[in-house]
């Protein structure tokens, strides 16, 4: 994961003045969002991919209940439609398909939880820093910087070496608490620009507490932005997880796409011609994360009429 598509630290959600539709605008606006969503190619396609993968992740393990880590056939079996091993088997004869669907499930989980946690922390820090400003801002910035520069790997190493076993849950939480800095910065910038708007001033004048203002005035006004941020953290978390798994810091036991990749490499799947062990995890991650990124942009265009192509 590199530059995060469409995250700007200084673009404020565009306000669309010209051609405002009068009358029951609110309802119509909602209707319009839905309408646009269905009309946005980016959104529809990415949504389709995500739903498909989610479907696999949820029902796959139910349908094919073979233990991903148990011999389920001859070793290094080619993909065949008969006799279960649709995606073939690994070096040890474990069923690749069940590894894939279980791994997919784990990846979704990591993204969902890790991304969510990251978003929460990022929002908290971002809001407080951006709204309060002053020394609070300074300190929070410092903390953010520390988190930005510390090789999180180091911290992970220390923690993992204490845990006799670590699960996907642990990985997700860890990623959550280390992946928020950029989000915090972006949200801080947004909050900053919103802080000076009239309606915020009004809210302040009406004597609402800082929290109330943040929760009821600021957050709703950048809800779309926050959602996009979450999507990006979601995708990012999945990629980070893959990297951790790859250097052997992933979950011990259990399955994940990254772990699949890691195993297929330690057992030299490619050199031994077991490509069907190596390819699915990669393609799975690309499809999942790619779809998320595309959706991010699609939604951006939906939320923000100016960006729509007409």
């Amino acid at each position: 994961m590199t530059a995060i598509p469409g995250t700007s630290t200084d673009v404020t959600p565009a306000v669309d003045d010209a051609g405002k539709i009068p009358a029951p605008a609110a309802k119509r606006a909602r209707g319009e969002l839905l309408f646009f969503s269905l009309r946005s190619k980016k959104f529809v396609i990415s949504m389709a991919v995500l739903l498909f993968l989610a479907f696999l992740a949820i029902f796959g393990p139910m349908v094919d209940s073979t233990d991903p880590l148990a011999q389920a056939g001859l070793p290094m079996r080619h993909p065949t439609l008969d006799a279960g091993n649709w995606f073939g088997t690994t070096y040890f004869g474990d069923d690749v398909f069940s590894q894939f669907v279980n791994g997919l499930r784990a990846s979704f989980f990591v993204g969902f939880l890790g991304g969510g946690l990251g978003a929460l922390i990022g929002m908290f820090v971002g809001f407080v820093a951006g709204y309060r400003g002053g020394w609070v801002d300074e300190i929070l910035n410092m903390i953010t910087n520390v988190f930005l520069v510390i090789p999180t790997l180091a911290v992970l190493l220390v923690i993992t070496s204490y845990l006799k076993a670590r699960g996907v849950m642990f990985e997700a939480i860890f990623i959550g608490i280390t992946s928020w800095p950029w989000a915090a910065r972006a949200i801080r910038a947004q909050t900053f620009s919103l802080r000076s708007r009239d309606f915020i001033d009004l809210a302040k004048l009406s004597g609402r507490s800082g929290w109330k203002v943040i929760v009821f005035e600021i957050a709703p006004n950048m809800s779309s932005y926050l959602f996009l941020t979450y999507i990006l953290l979601f995708g990012g978390a999945i990629l980070i997880a893959a990297s951790l798994d790859f250097i052997g810091l992933g979950p011990t036991g259990g399955m994940s796409l990254g772990l699949m990749m890691y195993n297929s490499v330690t057992w030299a799947a490619l050199q031994l011609g077991i490509w069907w062990w190596f390819v699915p995890p990669g393609v799975g991650i690309i499809a999942l994360v790619g779809a998320l990124y595309v959706m991010n942009v699609g939604l951006d265009e939906i939320f923000n009429p100016k960006l729509r192509e007409m």
Partner: protein
């Protein structure tokens, strides 16, 4: 101006201090006695010999002093560029090991980051609002950013190196060569460099391209663009402005992404067993060499901090608003 950088510098130093301290804690916090690991690794001695080796290594690594002392030693020796001794390199100064590896990593990272940033941004700007590019090439960008570094790296090495034999499989330079200032050696070096570089470049390129594409669309819709348009200014000028302004968040983005990019370089090196820091980190992890890890991470911390600082300066140079703000203009 000076006040601004003064404050930045201060926060950076503070950040460094905190980060370094956390970093120092690594080996001390680790369960497991590194010496025991080393002795066990050394193979079967006679019992008496094992006892000797334990003594030998324990004071070699200075682990026999109380923690506060060790902490002070850490800083003092740090100032002398001494990062302690490596368990994995049984007793080789960590500093030397890092210095041997760092150039490879830098040679991967610096060009990969700068080139991908430049190419990605230019391309993204080009694609924005140009339907055919937007619909043909940009999707590639999404696929690329969504690709795990090591996966792309593995695909490249398997196809181009293992199957087609176009590029060497692994290593920093041919195992049949000794480093010399010769054309032969130089080309060999590049041949080994190209694939790791490519796998980093491609993934990042996609990211920047998409980032820029989305940024610039915001800019093209902004008020100043509209104003120029209504005064009949040609697209060229409008795009020029938009590009320049869309660049700014991308610069920030670069700073924010550095950590992740470094991580990417690490796994890529592992795939090509490219003798850079990533390879070293991997070895250090597998050998529980926390002194080495500590050193490498410290190196990375410093690198990232420096890069951030540079980005800050660049940002000030390209974004007049910050300059004005510093001059205390109305803002």
């Amino acid at each position: 101006m000076r006040r601004y950088f003064g404050r930045k510098l201060f926060t950076y130093l503070l950040t460094f201090f905190v980060a370094a301290t956390i970093d120092w804690l690594i080996p001390r916090f680790m369960p497991g006695d590194p010496v025991a690991v080393l002795v066990t690794k050394t193979g079967v001695f006679s019992p008496t010999q094992a006892a000797e080796m334990v003594k030998y290594y324990t004071n070699l690594f200075g682990l026999n002093q109380p923690l506060p002392v060790q902490y002070l030693n850490f800083w003092t020796s740090l100032l002398h560029g001494n990062l302690g001794l490596s368990v994995y390199g049984n007793g080789t100064p960590v500093f030397d090991m890092i210095m041997a590896a760092a150039p490879y990593t830098l040679a991967l990272l610096v060009p990969a980051i700068l080139l991908s940033w430049w190419a990605g941004n230019s391309f993204g700007a080009l694609a924005a609002r140009r339907k055919w590019l937007d619909n043909t090439v940009l999707p590639m960008g999404y696929i690329l950013t969504a690709t795990p570094y090591m996966w792309l790296a593995l695909v490249l090495s398997f196809t181009l190196s293992f199957s087609l034999r176009i590029f060497p499989l692994s290593g920093g330079y041919g195992f049949n060569l000794e480093p010399t200032f010769t054309w032969l050696f130089f080309t060999d070096l590049v041949a080994h460099w190209i694939l790791p570089f490519l796998s980093l470049f491609l993934v990042m390129f996609g990211g920047w391209a998409i980032g820029m594409r989305n940024m610039i669309i915001y800019e093209l819709e902004s008020d100043y663009s509209r104003y120029l348009a209504s005064l009949g200014a040609p697209q060229g000028l409008i795009r020029k402005y938009a590009f320049r302004n869309a660049m700014l968040p991308q610069i920030t983005g670069l700073a924010l992404q550095l950590g992740v990019i470094v991580a990417g370089a690490l796994v890529t090196e592992i795939v090509f067993s490219y003798p850079g820091l990533g390879h070293l980190v991997f070895a250090a992890i597998n050998n529980e060499d926390y002194f080495l890890l500590q050193g490498i991470f410290l190196f990375i911390i410093i690198g990232v901090l420096l890069a951030n600082f540079i980005v800050d300066i660049v940002y000030v140079l390209v974004d007049p608003r910050t300059r004005v703000a510093m001059r205390g203009g109305t803002a």
